[in-house]
Amino acid sequence: MTGVDLEDVQRVVLRAGRARHVAHRLVRLPDAAAGLSLLRALAPRVAFGPALTPEGEARLSLGLTIAGLRALRLPGALLTAMARLSPAFVEGAPARAAARCGDTGPSAVAHWDPAFGFTRCHLVLSLDAADAAALRDACGALVRTIAGHRGEVVGVYEGRALGRPPASAGAGVRAGVPDGPAGDDEVWVHFGYRDGLSRRPVRGFPAGSSSPLRQHEPGEAVLGARNDVEANPGLLPGAVDALREFVLGGSFGTLRIVEQQVGRFEATLGRWAADWVRAHGGAIDDARALLKAKLCGRWPDGRHFAPGRFDRPDDARDPRADFDHGADPDGIGCPFGAHVRRMNPRLPAAGGDAFDADRPAHVRPRLLLRRGLPYGDWGDTDRGLLGWFFGARLEDGLEHLLGAWGDRMPLGVAGDADMKDPLIGQHEPRSGDPVFEIPRPDGAPPWTLRGFAPWCRTRGMAYAFHPSRRALQRIVDVRWEPWPEPAVPLP
């Protein structure tokens, strides 16, 4: 089993919960003493364990950046261990963004919100709740606590689940959106896609235990447990027990704020749809919906393509049901370069085991636990996604998805090698004018889309270690002095 007591793991890692509203506060600590006193005040409020947060309450999550660990003056041996465990965490998101996540041009670090400065952001404190009132109350209390311990809130980000796009939304955003009110559990994003559908069950986690879907090993989500390839990097071979105890049950969180430039998306989609109609006839709205579906790899309302069918959604299946692309080997339904096919390759299981050694490492599915919600309202100028992700490995998880699968065509996958993820890629002119290919049936040549514009702009990103209950308690108890290790310079 896991070797990790799930009661010790931060709840946000274990389950998405009922979150319809979220508030993030990026906090700078004035000094180690004030930082420790703030953590002491917050530690009892952080939500741990797999239980559902009661309705009417907000869930508090706490993450420490590498600058935060340094600000708290934790032992050098701990920082050295973190460097072994995760170079990305220790180098910090700004240093990794361009080379590992494709954040260049308008998304370059130079243009990020100041809150994400490497030495500015020490804590990522996040509240989420099912209702706005609960979040508001908890947020007020949190901010008072921060101020009471001389913490400085350097960044404020708040978002909420959006329902279906209203009639006033643009034609591209509305394309493929069903009429009528949204279901209670529906979450939509600003480009007009239903979100939150992909479920990645983890063995032993609340939603995973009863899932009929293939399950990841818990070591993909938290440190100290075996992962999908039967390794356990969190064991830190050779480290003293106290270090191992610190990382056990922890998880790396990423807060990534992405502005979505809906106007550009609408304009480009409209141009492509007009081209499609000129060539094939039909209604322009249908063309918009079809092309939107091809870019994403599923229909705007979440339904998958019927296996191997070019333009038919699979009406029979629940959008949340898992599937693989085994029935669509030529990309006739879901193109190879589509967003969902990159982010979750969904290869057919080989030998009955989804993660077994027959699968090359570069196409092995990566677990990324998604907890993000949109920010801004329909029609707002500034709107986008408060991306919030968790996993045991930044380098092999989020960075691999964004850098190796999102920022170019994944290795070994047919299509233009320079084509980035059509929805979230940083489509810069310096990438040339790569082609998004939409394979067609019956031997017809692929339909191609060109002229991608940067529809998303990264406003900032922070890597934060979300410690277990025991690790957090160990920090606030200041039980580090007995350690014999001297402070070791970071590599």
Partner: protein, 623 residues
Amino acid sequence: MAEPLDFDAVFRRESMPAHERTQRLFDWLKDDEERSRFYAWLLQSPRRGTLAFDSRSALELDPAPSQDPPQLGGAVTVTLVGARDDVEQVLADADGSFSNAAYRTLGSGSFMLGLDPSAPAAQDGAAQAALHAEQQRRADDALAAIGADGLRFDRLAQLAVADAFTAGLARPSFDLAMLAEEIGLRYGALLFGFGAQDHALLRQTMAAAYRGLNHLMLGRHFVGEPGTLPAARLALGALATRADALMAEYARLARRPEPPPADYLPHPERRRWPEGVEPPSARGLGDDFVPLLKAWALAPGRLAGGQLGSLAAGMLAGIVGNVQASVCTAVDALIDQPETCCAPDRIGAAVGAALAARPPAPFLPRVVAKDVTLRGSGLRLAAGQQLILCLGAATADRASCPPAPMAVDPLVFGMTARGPAARHGCLGARAIWPLLCHATQQVLALPGLARRIDAVDGTPLKLEKRWGFGAESLPLQYRRERRLVQQPLQVIMRIRTPVATNAAILRRLVADAAPRVQRALDDARHVHFAWFQFVDGDTALALQTVYDGDFDAYVQHFALKVDDIFDQLFEYLEDAPPRPVGEHVEAFVETIRRFHRPPLGGYFYSAYPRTETWRVPGAQGAP
């Protein structure tokens, strides 16, 4: 937004010591952003763009050796001139009111910039005017001959950038200041006709010469560097000497081509060029391309060999440093606006705007030769007054319509927009312009280009300049694997003792495991080549491969697929990672990374740099 600087307070407070005011002024002038704000204030001030300050430079222009009697203190007062009308008046110098004497300290009496062609009335003025005119004519003629083929400068630019990129972009991190310097050096070598063996000399001498230029243009008024100008003189002298020798070689070859030896028939063309100089036809420059040194060697005119060598050295000193500064300035300004400059038809305007905002040579020195009044500011200047022309202030004062085909304010190159032509305008501006545009565009087009990040505070690193001039560093990064998808891996680990016995075991293990390794490589679909071998007298085992894409994913694949084979191999190797490998994948990856020996200088050649393994026709997994 930066704090407003209180320029008024500094220059109105009589109580502030002059040396402190000078220091404050230096701080503003050498910083690009503060300089812009200072210029805005200067142009709005009652002084109309002029300002006098006490220089730290001694009265005598040539510090070593001084021909004037030494004096106590002896610092001079210098006037900044920033209004466009004033700057253009000084540059045009229609009536010989201004002298370029400051430049003479850089070289002999034939250093072109140090001559005063407009002052025939001055002592030895007529001789200076004649020499300057002849030098200018020789440079103009030779450049015009090259430029007669409308695309020749474009081709030179393409070659220079491609050559510089070969080694300069071997790694994902690079310093644009070094790369841009290399571009300038490669261009200069092609344009003048230097050989491959001259590259080190060019690099050393150009750095010293450009620093000397920067020093006498501005630095000497603020910092004491008695060794800089002598070093620059030595450098220019060394380069002039080499240029002179090469011209002699060009002349000799023109008279009597080297007879091809009997065993050297395949490359007869090479025998017509000095050793190390690649025939232009081999670079696609055409048989009629005549580099400057060859042109001058064949038709020396009225200039002596030493004077031609000096002309070459002086021109090169201007080219390399200014190309470096210009490319860095343009990329620094445009790196986050790729949409404005990746289109070939927009790059010129974008580079022009960037250089107008921050001219690569932002200050030009002059000395007042006779009493004169500046027309724009009305400032009266007495003979002997030293001036610094602030080009960045002048370009900000009033925009000038850029002349075609260069979409740049002429002041950027020390030329006037209207009225009489500048006496010392950049000779090679039209030759250099295609290079600046092409180099900037090629750098900006690098995949994933971004500033490097300061490891301590996480902020993007910016362009560092020396005294507001020469680019010292602009650390950048790019996705190297997008330009050259293949990566070499060479892991060398020492064999444990007893070495001979263990080597024999390793030999057998590798042979036995070959079929499984082969299958793992086939499955990976992104390995081009792989083999094991013994090195260092069979005391170490080397694993060598060429693979595509991401290092971690590649190495992980083998940790997962053939972990047991590596477990066996590591039994006989020193510094092995923890085993079983399959349970310590990260430690395995780090061990491979630690023992990887990258190619020298990072240079790695591929005949198909953008082709992944599985896309190679006939490769395993190819469609």
